[in-house]
Symmetry: D2
Subunit: 340 residues, 4 copies
């Protein structure tokens, strides 16, 4: 940590800060700059707590060099983590994985039809929401446990592992019995108690980035899962909230190669929620693969116009099949490019 | 609702939309504009579901005129709601209420000292956190139930009702026994299951605006509480996340007079979390009162430099006492101004 | 335009608005909704001015259905505009164009070396900045007209048309003599006088999106150029400012397929300024091509470590050559995919 | 400056950076942290250029302790700057100044009426726009020089100094002849050439914060004016662009006390543009005064409903007079509070 002093900090203020650093068991190193003095805190083995220095006279700013997470960082775990979801491997240098299915499970028939389409077109994991977070209380809230059971059935019927969202602690155990991977949604990324309890579950967790979470906060949220005992974490970029509202959210694909440098945990992309416009989604799916995402999650609905939730962002079967065919050709090009 | 058609929408596309509107039991009114046709949906008695119209040929955009909330809206409940917290009244046209106390409860001694200070200086409600949401798992997470009990004791000792945060469903009942008002924090504003369960509790709820929640989403979250049976809701503006990071968050005080027009629920302001710099806070407290907030919540710590959490944003006793004195004079001026 | 009335608007308020609409020569169509009345303004042939209705009793909101631009809209000009820069064609369904060169022109030698690299590797247009907008006055501000002349020389020497930025009106004519395309940067996107004067120049204009410009404002800025007489406009997405600062800006590639639907003007992508981290840039260049951009602009510097400006975001010659090779393979895959 | 090295930076990478620091004439100080080494650059007398260190092996990040501005900083100029506009003093600890008038000058009659109102109600400076920046080219662009002359006439007639916006370099000299203060608007805050030329004019400059400008960029823009020779600069906070669009912009009043600590230049507040809703504005004006702003600028129009530009945000004469009366009482309370 670096403690930056005010321009006009007195000599005795600086000495007091140095004394406090030493009292904490660290070494202090004064760095006289052009405008002001900064004091380096040396000899720490982890994140330095700034508390003892707060409010001291002449102190202007704290600059943390060490991050608020450690277990998720590639610095301390250089090898890629490969998460297995019902036998399907997800990791940075693995073939990208396609997770597909309807936004919300509406009925056995609807999910069956969707499952067959995504299986046939080559998806690896089936998705479907049973508990739906909705902005207002007057909208469809999902089928609940009935939906979870339908998902489990269809997952077995078509032979694809499944992922579904959990929203409250008492759902964790039950959903873990029926599904291969538990999703924690964007609105719950900083529901720290849900994270703490999910950390104890013996199933992989798919953690979505919060609507306005910095990458540092995103990684610190994942740190809750690893610190609590669950190393099988998949991160999911799904767009952030910005001033631009022409499309629903702003999907920043540059975070993919950035996160690849910073964390060993795989990161996938969900363009459906970010964009909310059907015919743009396949473009973003391809772009996600091109920038190196470990996988992609998309919404597919047998009849998007009749969907109870998020219809405009769901691909129809034909659209999904066409996209999967184009992705295969793209993958060949990417593999060729890298060999070259 | 208004359904805006594409510029080049065909006549039969328009007819199909009109037919669908009528099939839903509404009346359709075609509005031919300069560039494109829009079709009004008439005869609805609440929020119109756009689902049946999604994906129809030629449809460009849906414009909702009716909002996703109703119970919280002043349109349908013109009189101010006055929430009582342990006998203290909070409402738009009531004298503004001061809620004060430490960010986190650290010990009996710390809270006792803080309680006496805030009581003597004229605060009406005592705050103190027992369950603390922290970005990373390696930071102090609060004293938990022990903290809740200390708060209850001190609340009685100094004779001030109390408010404290809950973070998980299984805390609701227990905390409601010990505290006069339950806070749901910014990170949990869209933890819809927590809202649904809090709606069943017979204590007022203080709901903070999420870091990137629009006012519409904020009101729709409060709608969960009212729809679930709890009409005693206090809203709290605490700063939003923007590109500017010189101060911690961006505290938008203009939302106070705006919300006063839109909702009957009282709105208070918490400048401590938004600003994070001690000597700026009293300025913002005064400004909050001036724009008409129903109350203010500030952090006061007997020794801010030793605080385990958010020290730099806590007022010390002298600062708080000075601020309260200045507020009294300000209030007289405001009352005089309005009479004039 | 739709005029939304307050919930409690009186009947005579509504009648007054209707009368005002008719006084303006339009037809009024009242649309009684569940919560409030909205009044449609019909019979307009362009953007309806809301001025005469402002401040009228009972009026809550104006919803514009018609956009503040027309000439740039695909609605009124369905065919792609193909802009020619020194013989190179840039358009939505043309092969994507590579614009490359150093951020700032530093010397004849530096530009010569960069020009040869980008030419040999297959770029189509040479870029180089002579007038540099810098946050503070104490940074390198570019070589000015000397730089423009060096660019012109090198452009001829290697046989590539050139593009360079203009920052003030009195530079327009002179720079237009020496360069094939004039760039108006993000900070000047709403320098409306510069736009008005650039509209009179007989050279294509490359207009960058402002740091916090909505797509609507971006298109309205381009409308200044078309309205002023210059139809040869290339738009450039270069990242927007958001709360996330891990990377410099947030590059939203989903705007590319979105803009393709909305405007006939070609849109290219500049990932260098958005990202600011060298080894991430080639990923984003590929992604831009995949989502359908009409071209890409990247910074290439013979010795990035010695660059006077924006070194960390410049590709070195080896990096650029490798990227261009990979792009060729990618392009074949994309062409194959579309044929399939 | 602090150069943060990668976690796994090799010993010889660190030595190379140290050698480069010394080659630049500075002293290097290695600060071994828990996770990584940071190297302090010592002995600088101003902003350290990071160029020579860019791209060096093992370098992760540069942390600047010295800011990109100096002349505007209170560190180097502790006393408040007091700017005189036609004899009216504007400064941090001066009585707050009221600048008022119509958004756009529409006619002699309109400005005359507005001028008389604002003069009588106690405003100190008259504002009025002659050159108007408009999002699209099809809107009213202002009366131009004719407007400037009308403003000058009315300024003399009622005896109030005037301020008006300039948008292009060739307007500077002419407008400076007729007006007491030149405004540079938000969209031109980083029109660096306009700043450079305005720096040579012998009239005070009112510089508005850009829509998405950080405070650091805002101060660096003002640095252009001071560095170019014009010390008479007034800064103006007018709201920033965020995800929230219920009101037009987000007006962050906490920047006022923050800037008071950082700069000696006076900062005023313009709530009209931020809010865009008439009846909310007086609340924000009072709040601006309460947080210590050096002045306030508001739009007043004799007949807001007929305004050619920004009508809904203009106060009518009665509203302005009422607000001025309330401000007087408020000011007394503030003065009393501070004496206490």
């Amino acid at each position: 940590m670096l403690i930056v002093m005010e321009h006009n900090a007195a000599e005795h203020d600086i000495r007091a800060v140095v004394a406090q650093i030493e009292a904490q068991g660290y070494k202090a190193e004064s760095i006289p700059g052009g405008d002001r003095v900064a004091i380096g805190v040396l000899g720490n083995t982890g994140y330095v707590d700034e508390t003892p220095f707060r409010g001291m006279a002449g102190v202007r700013e704290f600059i943390h060099v060490t991050k608020p997470y450690k277990l998720v960082s590639r610095d301390f775990h250089p090898e890629d983590t490969i998460v297995e979801v019902g036998g399907v491997k997800i990791g940075w240098n693995q073939p990208p994985v396609m997770i597909a299915g309807p936004c919300a499970i509406e009925s056995r028939e609807q999910l069956q039809e969707a499952s067959r389409v995504v299986k046939e077109a080559g998806a690896s994991i089936l998705r479907g929401g049973a508990f739906k977070p909705r902005t207002g209380p007057h909208s469809f809230q999902g089928l609940g446990y009935e939906g979870v059971k339908i998902l489990s059935e269809m997952s077995k019927e078509v032979g694809l592992p499944s992922v579904t969202e959990v929203m409250r602690i008492d759902q964790l155990e039950m959903v873990a019995k029926y599904s291969d991977c538990l999703q924690i949604g964007a609105r719950n990324m900083q529901n720290f108690d849900l994270l703490k309890e999910a950390a104890k579950i013996d199933k992989p967790i798919l953690l979505k980035r919060g609507m306005s979470a910095t990458l540092e906060e995103f990684l610190a949220a994942a740190e809750y899962l690893l610190a609590g005992g669950n190393p099988n974490v998949i991160l999911c970029e799904r767009g952030i909230r910005t001033f631009e509202r022409a499309l629903r959210n702003t999907l920043d694909l540059s975070v993919i190669p950035y996160l690849k440098k910073v964390t060993h945990l795989p990161v996938i992309v969900d363009p459906s929620h970010a964009i909310g416009v059907r015919d743009i989604i396949p473009h973003l799916v391809k772009a996600a693969i091109v920038v190196g995402a470990a996988g992609v999650m998309v919404e597919v609905h047998p009849k998007p116009a009749c969907a109870l939730c998020d219809g405009p962002q769901s691909l129809n079967p034909e659209g999904f099949i066409k996209m999967m065919r184009e992705l295969k050709i793209l993958q060949i090009a990417l593999d060729t490019g890298e060999e070259g």
